[in-house]
Amino acid sequence: MDQLQLLVSGLANGCVYGLIALGFVLIYKATEAVNFAQGDFMMLGAFVALGLTNAEYMALPFWLAAPLSILVMAVLGYLLDLLVLRRLFGQSQIAVVILTIALGFVIRFVAGAIWGHEPQTLQSPLSQGDISLGGVVLSVVDLAVIVVTVLLTITLYQFFQRTRLGLAMQAASQNQMAAYVMGIPVKRVQGLIWGISGATAAVAGILFASKGAMDPNAGLLGIKAFAAAVIGGFGSLPGALVGGLIVGVIEPFAARYLAAGYSQIAPYALLLAVLVFRPHGLISQTRMKKV
């Protein structure tokens, strides 16, 4: 029973990592760049929701504030691409990497300036209540996190596999020039991806803030999610989720059964192992090139 309890709380944590990892993978799939501000997007999404919901700020009902903050983050993602990232169109990947790291710092300090640096809790209806299932006590928020994450992953996966826009996004990531010639508006498609990844970050942020206190440095969680994305196989949406779940589950077990401190390094130890033995990740999208 004890292990089961650890497993469930690990899965719920892992889902949040998985959602942030989804954001990494989305941007990577569409633009072949890595957005190192993805964790900070999540934090910002959480604070936008918190600012709209909490009694001391705007005090909107949660079920109105949640979709609103998802929308705000989607627009923000799109605008960020339109106004900032598009200026680097055609520049090397490293320029985008540096820019997103800088963006992360900016977002962290902007959030601190608006909402303060103290930890705050989202007044979310998800935060209350437990459900007991055959001896395992599940909190409502853990259950919500798992359900929402699975649904979102399936939707995004279907979107990329089936829809005209999703396929256009994949095409644009593989070869921009060829995508143009096929009639795909590459820049607009990339902007939309940033929008989707902003929305995904907001969902992750709302769920994470429902689980516990938030502060502007919570975005640093993104590093763990980055490890999750790499473990899952960068470029694969289901891989991102699986990677997130693995990292999430490893932590509580390592904390329980290993000496103190090991739980912090366990995800990265796994990351190293995956890079050595399966460099393309567990669910890989690319294959070795025949030479």
Partner: protein
């Protein structure tokens, strides 16, 4: 009215004049070639038609429409398809998937219909698959249908790129050096295909090519360029025997 009409096109890169006051027109149903030494500006002309480069000056009209008012992604919708000198395919996708992307401009379903795979989407999907299968049969690509591009030999990739352009159902097909890097047999195949593309499919072809055997074999008219400007225009035989063309290719002898 000509299908494609280019008037007084000029493009400079810094101080280098890549294309200099160039004018030519292509009639519907013909196969037209641009020849010239390396650096003559042949591919630059293609890239201006594709709207990758904006000309300094000049007019570009396709079927009466001003090409300079459309974005690069809208060129495909006008019915212009192209291949690239260095082959630009979606390397991580299969041959079939690459050809299906060629159908992108013909897809009409909405996002919601697609997410739920509505009957209309299924019917449309079947139609696109059918169109692509015709191209696969035409180009004899059956054996490679589900192979990833990344593992295919150069000659096959070249054919796949031609197939993707054909799958989009163009009115004007731009071929950038269709025979470069191909073996003698493959070049022969390419010649037959270009012939059939014009005769059976009724597609107008504009190509850049160095292989004069292929050019004289399939082209109605040839334009010779040097340093971005027109040297000569006419039938392949006329252009090949033009003294200015011979001079541009071989240089003047010490007379």
């Amino acid at each position: 009215m000509s299908l494609l009409e280019i008037r007084n096109a000029t493009l400079k890169f810094g101080g280098v004049v890549a294309v200099n006051d160039l004018s030519f027109a292509i009639e519907e149903g013909e196969v037209y070639a641009i020849v010239g030494p390396n650096g003559a500006g042949k591919s630059t002309v293609f890239n201006m038609i594709s709207r990758f480069y904006a000309p300094f000056a000049g007019q570009f009209r396709f079927d009466g429409q001003d090409l300079l008012t459309v974005r690069p992604d809208q060129v495909a919708n006008l019915g212009i398809a192209r291949t690239f000198q260095n082959i630009e395919l979606f390397d991580q996708a299969t041959v079939l998937q690459n050809l299906l992307v060629g159908r992108h401009r013909h897809r009409q379903s909405t996002l919601l219909e697609e997410l739920f795979f509505a009957p209309r989407v299924r019917a449309e999907e079947r139609r696109h698959r059918h169109a692509v299968e015709e191209v696969i049969e035409f180009l004899d690509l059956q054996a490679y249908r589900d192979k990833r591009i990344a593992g295919l030999p150069y000659g096959i990739r070249k054919v796949v790129e031609l197939g993707r352009a054909l799958a989009s159902g163009p009115r004007l097909l731009l071929l950038d050096e269709p025979a470069s890097g191909l073996s003698v047999e493959e070049t022969q195949d390419m010649r037959w295909w270009i012939d059939d593309i014009r005769r059976q499919m009724g597609i107008t072809v504009l190509m850049v090519e160095h292989d004069m055997g292929l050019v004289s074999g399939v082209c109605d008219r040839v334009l010779a360029l040097a340093d971005g400007a027109r040297l000569a225009e006419g039938t392949p035989a006329e252009v090949q025997s033009d003294p200015r063309v011979i001079e541009a290719y071989l240089g003047t002898g010490a007379v």
